[in-house]
């Protein structure tokens, strides 16, 4: 019987190595797997590269992870959210590397990783300083730059419902980066608000099929707050 549901955070986090590239779902705090981030802090892996849309708020979640000093580099589109105190301090002190990526390019680079596309051309960022060092190419009269796939060693994902095969649904705008990251990592770990019986999720509605999921932890976290 396939059963991807794990019972403990330690099982969920097993095997994450120093130096791993960790994809963290969410847009701001919505859809962000805070329990798993706490678990990763507890687990202790260091020298991490984190890929996430934002860089954490206050001293919670992603910010708390950054504050441990175990994140070498962050890849994100918008490190400035409401209160990015921890990130800004680390960045000014030169203690964290930042790769600022346009949000759509970031999503597409991870989609490419999941889809076996090593590189693609895009019009986004052409002629801007974020295109520095990238190959430029004219195709049918328009200029594009080449972007490479962005693979994760690990993805931390927040779902609304999950079953033992790892099929997932999301709630409203909490879907965001989660399905894209689930498909882009070697090891995909999910925290889910609800656990569903196999077959209870509508096959037309499953947003992430279980093939992309390795472990599911039941985390009935209640309602998120916008940060």
């Amino acid at each position: 019987m396939i059963n991807k549901i794990v019972q403990t955070m330690a099982e969920a986090m097993a095997g994450i190595r120093d130096g791993a590239v960790v994809l963290v779902g969410g847009f701001g705090s919505i859809g962000q797997p805070n329990a798993l981030i706490e678990g990763l802090i507890e687990q202790g892996a260091k020298d991490l590269t984190v890929v996430a849309n934002n860089s954490g708020v206050g001293y919670l979640g992603l910010a708390k992870l950054l504050d441990t000093g175990r994140v070498r580099k962050i890849v994100c589109s918008f490190p400035r959210t409401a209160d990015p105190v921890v990130f800004e301090r680390l960045w000014r002190e030169g203690k964290i590397e930042l790769e600022c990526v346009p949000q759509g390019t970031m999503a597409e680079r991870m989609r490419a990783a999941g889809a076996g596309i090593p590189a693609f051309y895009t019009a986004t960022a052409v002629g801007t300083k974020l295109a520095a060092g990238k190959e430029e190419r004219e195709i049918h009269g328009r200029k594009y730059i080449l972007e490479e796939a962005l693979h994760g060693d690990v993805a931390l994902v927040e779902a609304w419902e999950a079953d033992r095969w790892g099929n997932l649904t999301y709630k409203s705008s909490a879907r965001n980066f989660n399905p894209v990251m689930a498909a882009a990592a070697k090891l995909t770990i999910v925290q889910s608000q609800h656990i569903a019986e196999l077959g209870a999720l509508d096959p037309e509605k499953i947003a992430t099929p279980g093939i992309f999921v390795d472990r599911v932890l039941h985390v009935p976290y209640g309602e998120p707050t916008v940060t």
Binding site: T128, L130, N176, V180, P224
Partner: protein, 220 residues
Amino acid sequence: MNVKTAVKPMTRLEMAKRLADDVPEGWYVNLGIGAPLQVADYVPQEREVVFQSENGVLGMGPAPPPDKINRWLINAGKQYITLRTGGSYMHHADSFALIRGGHLDLCVLGAFQVAENGDIANWSTSDNESAPAVGGAMDLAAGARQLWVLMDHTTKTGESRLVRRCTYPLTALGVVKRVYTNLAVLDVTDEGFAVREMVPGMTLDDLQKVTDAPLRMAQM
């Protein structure tokens, strides 16, 4: 501002309303965070315009009453919103595929500068500030079928935001089609800025005095 006192610049809300009047029914529109988001408030419900929020919401509705908040439903500005009847959700790669694939009729962004060649600078005011943060601006600017900019005509210190060439870091090249400022509505044409309309009492000469780039009246 060096405009004669008889001229009353538009407020932010008046600017949003002015722009909203030009959005026809049936368009799919992304509104940048900040002032552009207010445009939605001035499109009446009976004129069906579909607003997209790049975090995976197509058919964004107004803010919910405090007792009816869905805490998993926010817009790109991280404010609680509602989903309009007929709206749908998608993940980030699909959402940006929609943006980058040229499916939006319109994107409205704020900006620091717009150049007469259609270049836009809206994400960074210098090369040595705090950490760079671009969000979805470059995707939206390069991807939407047309880009309109909503911004004050000048900076607080009176410098023109309509320029010959942008001096701030660029967001995208040659993409702005129209600019709505607190003083005027201007098209960006192959021959530079063309003034479509001005606030009451304003003349082209007056407007030119507070504008770096050369202006001409639009052929309407």
